[in-house]
């Protein structure tokens, strides 16, 4: 069971209090009616599901009830950071604590593991 820090409560609480709410930074267009089929499909259906760092939403449903964002490594399950829903996407490069160089490391370079920007954001 993970410990997750709620950025609103400002403390770590057990995973049982939280509910994952899918990928973060999906942007609902201001004039969604005029959105093209492709753009709407990207918003509605297409998700990154990366192996490695992912930006995702959580809700502290059995706590303060707030939705917030988190950066979590889907391989190690470790949270790099959490931040409030209205805060910008953090710079992942600065958050990664690089382990001492190891010859036997088979992990992909971090740059490859960071998620790409969403189509809707470009």
């Amino acid at each position: 069971m993970l410990l997750i820090k709620c950025p609103y409560c400002e403390e770590e609480r057990p995973e049982l209090e939280f509910r994952n709410a899918g990928e973060a930074h999906l942007v609902r267009a201001a004039s969604i009616v005029e959105q093209s089929d492709d753009d709407f499909a990207a918003f509605l259906y297409f998700r990154q599901n990366p192996k490695g760092l992912q930006f995702e939403r959580w809700r502290h449903i059995h706590g303060c009830g707030r939705f917030f964002n988190a950066v979590r490594d889907s391989v190690s399950d470790k949270f790099l950071t959490v931040y409030k829903a209205d805060e910008p996407r953090p710079n992942v490069e600065q958050l990664i604590v690089r382990p001492a160089a190891s010859a036997e490391s088979t992990e992909e370079p971090d740059a490859k593991r960071a998620p790409r920007a969403k189509k809707a954001e470009v």
Partner: protein, 992 residues
């Protein structure tokens, strides 16, 4: 009679630490036996001279006791307290005996000494590893009918109990600064050191008492006292401190993320008559800031022919049986070793008066002090020799010895054979924590390498050799200021061998067992490699080496070494199979814990529940809710009761408990704007005091929920949702409010349980409630259909809704939940003389279907749009945005050929369609037919005098009047497509 005969003929007077006076009676396969309090089943059986305790998994070979601990692969027995409290595959080396304990051997028929299944051993050349993958391939049908049932019957060791477990299990969450796993010398020292800093410490050990190897090591002196005395004194010191919890009989079985560790504490398995309220086991879920692993090492057996004969066991086990339990494992005990540690066992046994005919050592020149000590006691040491085979069947009777480099064989008679191939550090929990193990080539062992969590390993599990070094390391790991303590003696964890011993090499076909529990021999591992299994994970699965209850604690490294040799690759290149939780088997009871029966899931009851129950209502489960389903009167079946209720509502009036409906209070200056975005309907212009039926979509355009919404003030809405949808609708609203529309000033509050809702429906509804209502003009003119007023009823504040889910004029009376039953009873008493009849959810379903009102989740399935459901009217035409607006514009959602909601009337009005039945246009087409829709709701309607149904049919609204067909097993049912309203099509009754 001497105490020795009281508790078994092999009990050595003066040896061990059990009290000779405290005897315990138990049975083994019906035989009455006596042991001592503190004995395990294994030590008590050995004390009584019993070595044969079970039959092996595949070959049904006689098996005995290999170890004295939780790593035991062989001695699995069945323990029975009573019919429901029965457990198979209990390790005899772990289970403590108590008065009245019933132990049975497993996997034998008709008896342990004569077992028919043992013919498998004779036919073993036909049963090599993986034989069932190749043998049972044809004829194809035989797998399901013959092979699988037979294999299933033959597989497994124990028999599962036939009755539900009546034991209780408890659960505890705990936090600590330091969790120490293992209370051997390293764990005790680390705990003592950590506790001295004031840190909150939890120390656990799987054994009944602390001490680890100190319990059998006879030569250890710590801080001036014998090792086991130091352990006892240290535990006493720790228990006197209030910042440390010492848990014995407690196994740390799983190491999860962020230092979350699962423990099982066994509370009553060792007690003769546990108190009724006492839990059997307690599950501990511990979050530790730091974990100290002091899990020790596990001794390996020697891999040689017939090394599985009862009486062949680990040297450390023999030492434990002698020094802890006072039991001699034999009278003429042979020793076979590849390292020093078996010598200590031989010396202890010799000093206890046991004959040690010979120590066979594979090493050419063993010359340490302990070897000399053995020689000085007159024990013959044969260096550079190997045991090529063990003789005997149900008990070892001899050992055949040859020089490793060739020479004459010599046979030595023994009645027990103790062995040691060296020690395997127990890195199980370290590995579970996602730490990476590293290969220590010099000593041929895996040790903790890279740590993944805030965790440290100390002592034997860390490969630390020497007692003083272990104490120093453990005291330092605990973080205390006080230094270590002086110590002498103790075991050496290095040295020995892995893989097959001389005489069981690749050029032989002997049965030299690697994994006792799965009957895997050295040649099976080699066969797996020859068959192309080059990964250790494949070798494991092909041979089953390292599987089942012991998870290869004694066998994994041997198997790996043999595979590596056959592959001609270094051991680390072949790899190690992954260690997974649990470390030892955990009962389902401990995991399931309190979540059984009533505590499995909460039951929600409405404020009027006891009234319904008193009226004899049948209830149905709707999510977690218990809802009154129908109210049968004397002699009525469900059909009769429901018909009576339906007719009463339309002719007089009915009273219905609608309290389970979800309710959300939407408040704030932007409340109307928010609802505009969450529902398809327009809200800005809805007048205060008015109601509107709202539809909520997901972003994809499909119906998510529906419900009636009342505007109580400019800035206040009372929203209702479906019963099952309440939590998800609240979540959906919060999600949009917090993340998409945070600029809106709105507050959402779930009020589902704050309001009791009493629906009064029917032509006499107004007449019934009129005398009870205060401060509200409920005349048809002042309070028309779809309006809401606040006032009082029966002296209680109410939000009175004029609305209908039956098609009749009616009210939904919202009162604070605590007043629900009182108001209900007052309304019922007032209405009963006028024909007011309680009706349940079944009648409600029929009444609404007669009117074509949909139920979200029954008539919709997550792929239905408002247009499909005939609810286009509920979409605000001039709206520029709401959730789902873009989804509804998708090409497939506006194209022809969508399934649309229609009514169906069977041509024979007495036939009631089955819900979910498929609909076709032509019943004579070949199978598989083209299905064009399905029945979503179907009932007998007493009010219509016929059956009615709703269905989703392709282009349904264009098919009104068409005849379609519903093929069923007993024939095809002919139906006519109709509109969805079967009763009072004009809706005049609503305004009555």
């Amino acid at each position: 009679m001497s105490t020795a005969t009281h508790s078994g003929s092999n009990r050595i007077a003066g040896a061990g630490r059990l009290t000779p006076a405290k005897t315990v009676r138990f049975t083994f396969d019906g035989q009455n036996l006596t042991g001592l309090e503190g004995d395990t089943v294994a030590s008590a059986l050995l004390a009584n001279g019993i070595h044969l305790v079970g039959r092996s998994f595949k070959y049904h070979r006689p098996r005995g006791i290999l170890s004295a601990g939780s790593e035991e692969p062989n001695a699995l027995v069945d323990i029975e307290r009573d019919k429901s409290r029965k457990q198979p595959n209990v390790r005899a080396t772990v289970q403590e005996i108590y008065d009245g304990l019933k132990v049975k051997s497993q996997n034998r028929w008709p008896s342990l000494t004569f077992d028919v299944g043992a013919v498998n051993d004779m036919f073993s050349p036909m049963l090599p590893a993986g034989f069932y993958y190749k043998t049972f391939m044809w004829p194809k049908f035989a797998w399901k009918t013959i092979y699988e049932p037979k294999i299933r019957a033959a597989a497994g060791l124990g028999v599962v109990p036939g009755e539900a477990d009546t034991d209780r299990y408890s659960n505890r969450f705990a936090h600590c600064d330091v969790l120490v796993v293992g209370a051997g010398v390293a764990g005790l020292a680390a705990a003592l050191s950590a506790a001295s800093t004031g840190a909150r410490v939890i120390l656990c050990d799987e054994q009944p008492e602390a001490g680890g190897a100190l319990r059998y090591e006879s030569d250890v002196v710590i801080d001036g006292v014998a090792g086991h005395e130091w352990a006892a004194a240290t535990v006493a010191k720790l228990q006197a401190m209030d910042n440390i919890t010492v848990l014995t009989r407690t196994t740390a079985f799983g190491y999860y993320a962020q230092n979350f560790v699962g423990l099982v504490e066994r509370l009553s398995d060792h007690l003769s008559t546990p108190a009724a309220e006492m839990p059997r086991e307690r599950l501990w879920q511990i979050r530790a800031k730091k974990v100290v692993l002091a899990t020790g090492a596990i001794e390996r057996h020697m891999v040689f022919a017939n090394n599985d004969r009862p009486g062949v066991m680990l040297a450390s086990a023999a030492r434990m049986f002698l020094n802890q339990y006072g039991v001699a494992v034999g009278r003429k005990v042979g020793v076979y070793t590849a390292n020093d540690s078996a010598y200590a066992a031989a010396i202890d046994l010799k000093r206890a008066g046991i004959g040690i005919p010979v120590i066979v050592d594979t090493r050419d020149n063993p010359n340490s002090q302990i070897v000399e000590e053995a020689r000085s006691l007159g024990i013959e040491v044969l260096a550079g020799h190997a045991v090529y085979s063990a003789g005997g069947k149900r008990r070892v009777s001899s050992m055949s010895i040859k020089p490793v480099r060739g020479g004459n064989e010599r046979k030595v008679a023994v009645d027990a054979l103790i062995m040691s191939a060296g020690w395997t550090p127990s890195v199980h929990l370290f590995s579970q924590s996602r730490g990476k193990v590293a290969w220590d080539a010099a000593n041929e062992r895996f040790l903790p390498g890279t740590y993944a969590q805030d965790c440290v390993s100390v002592g034997a599990c860390n490969g630390t050799d020497g007692l003083q070094a272990t104490l120093d390391e453990a005291f330092a790991a605990g973080g205390g200021k006080a230094g270590s303590v002086p110590a002498t003696g103790g075991a050496n964890w290095t040295g020995g061998m892995i893989g097959s011993a001389p005489g069981a090499g690749a050029d032989t076909t002997v049965k030299a067992f690697v994994d006792f529990q799965n009957d895997v021999t050295a040649k099976d591992v080699r066969l797996a490699v020859r068959e192309g299994m080059h990964s250790i994970e494949h070798v494991k699965r092909f041979t089953t080496n390292g599987m089942a209850t012991d998870q290869g604690k004694t066998s994994n490294l041997h198997g790996l070494a043999i595979a590596a040799e056959a592959l001609n690759r270094p051991i680390p290149a072949v790899g190690l199979t992954t260690f997974r939780a649990p470390f030892t088997p955990v009962t389902f009871g401990a995991i399931v814990n309190h979540a059984r029966h009533d505590l499995f899931d909460p039951t929600r009851r409405t404020p009027m529940h006891t009234w319904h129950a008193a009226q004899g209502a049948e209830f149905e489960d709707v999510g977690q809710w218990k809802r009154a389903w129908y109210y049968p009167q004397a002699g009525e079946d469900m059909h009769a009761a429901v018909n009576r209720e339906c007719v009463a509502v339309r002719n007089h009036a009915g009273i219905f408990d609608a309290s389970t409906l979800g309710k959300i209070e939407v408040v704030g200056p932007d409340a109307a704007k928010f609802l505009e975005l969450l529902y398809t309907n327009p809200w800005e212009k809805l007048g205060v005091g008015r109601l509107r039926y709202g539809i909520m979509l997901r972003e994809d355009g499909f119906i998510y929920d529906d419900g009636v919404v009342g505007r109580l003030a400019e800035d206040r809405f009372h929203v209702t949702t479906t019963t099952g949808g309440a939590p998800r609708v609240m979540n959906h609203m919060e999600d949009y409010l917090q993340t998409e529309f945070p600029h809106l000033n709105v507050w959402l509050t779930s009020t589902t349980e704050q309001w009791a809702v009493i629906a009064v429906q029917g032509p006499k509804a107004r007449e019934i409630i009129a005398p009870l209502v205060e401060g509200i003009d409920i005349s048809n003119e002042a309070m028309p259909h779809m309006s809401v007023r606040e006032g009082k009823i029966c002296g209680v504040p109410t939000r009175l809704f004029r609305m209908s889910f039956t098609g009749e004029a009616g009210y939904e009376i919202n009162v604070p939940a605590d007043y629900g039953q009182a108001v209900w009873e007052a309304v019922y008493d007032r209405g009963k003389p006028l024909g007011l009849t309680p009706y349940g959810t079944e009648a409600m379903h029929i009444l609404r279907a007669e009117k074509g009102y949909i139920i979200v989740g029954q008539d919709t399935d997550g792929t239905v749009t408002p247009q499909d459901a005939g609810l286009t009217w509920a979409i605000g035409k001039n709206k520029t945005d709401y959730v789902g607006i873009r989804g509804l514009l998708r090409r497939d959602l506006v194209a022809d050929g969508r399934k649309q909601l229609v009514g169906l009337k069977t041509v024979d009005p007495t036939v009631v369609l089955e819900e979910g039945a498929q609909i076709v246009a032509n019943p004579n087409q070949p199978v598989p037919m083209t299905m064009i829709g399905h029945v979503t709701s179907s009932y007998w309607s007493e009010n219509c005098g016929r059956s009615i149904a709703l269905a989703l049919v392709v282009d349904g609204t264009k098919r009104l009047g068409e005849t379609l067909y519903v093929p069923m097993p007993n024939g095809v049912i002919e139906v006519e497509v109709t509109g969805t309203v079967f009763f009072d099509e004009k809706g005049e009754r609503l305004n009555g």
